[in-house]
Subunit: 128 residues, 2 copies
């Protein structure tokens, strides 16, 4: 899905995630959003344009101000995508999987980190 490209790309920047976190408290002007950061105002405006293009914020108007507010549909969509993988990190699922394997083999010991292995291939763990 093309939208996920833009959404995840927008979320990949800490400044933009901080902006979203700020907007979670309520709408804010560009100056208010820029205040915590060391970068210039045009840089913030650029980040806001990225967030806007991703549909993560929308823009209002109040005199000279253009208050932004959070729009959460892209967040919900990203969350839905991630939910497809929930079974892989869900601890309960993993414990259940181990329990089933133990029942099959008659092994009373609970093994940790038993995820579907295949053939004789060894898998090295992730680095960090």
């Amino acid at each position: 899905m093309r939208d996920l490209d833009v959404t995840f790309a927008a979320l990949a920047d800490p400044t933009r995630r901080a902006i979203l976190a700020r907007l979670a408290k309520g709408e804010a002007s560009v100056m208010e959003l820029a205040q915590p950061f060391v970068m210039s105002q045009p840089a913030i405006s650029k980040h806001l344009k990225v967030l806007e293009r991703a549909g993560l914020i929308s823009c209002g108007r109040d005199a000279q101000r253009r208050p932004r507010r959070l729009e959460t549909r892209p967040l919900r969509d990203a969350n839905r995508w991630l939910e497809n993988y929930r079974q892989f990190w869900d601890a309960q699922f993993r414990r259940l999987d181990d329990l089933l394997q133990d029942l099959q083999t008659g092994n009373p010991m609970i093994k940790k980190n038993k995820i579907k292995k295949k053939k004789s291939a060894r898998l090295k763990g992730d680095q960090e």
Copy 2:
């Protein structure tokens, strides 16, 4: 969090998301992963390196093959981050105040000490 940068950036590419979807069915070699795509094998290897650097996959060895498998901890972490915003797209309302602290800590781009500019000073005039 720096990890979220790399995770979201890795997820922002449709080829990489497709690779993860394939690996959700079980581990696969580079050739198997490359097969559905029109791009060259080195391009796939590059994508795999991105995914590996993000901790989203790990690498095993089986003769000449280097089967990749899904690693879901970054997905879980990304999901946790998104969960902070769940209330915005959920019907049910939850108090948000406790979350805000977590959302805004650990960001390297945030100023340590906010210095207020004098009201008579031109915004553009003085720079740090």
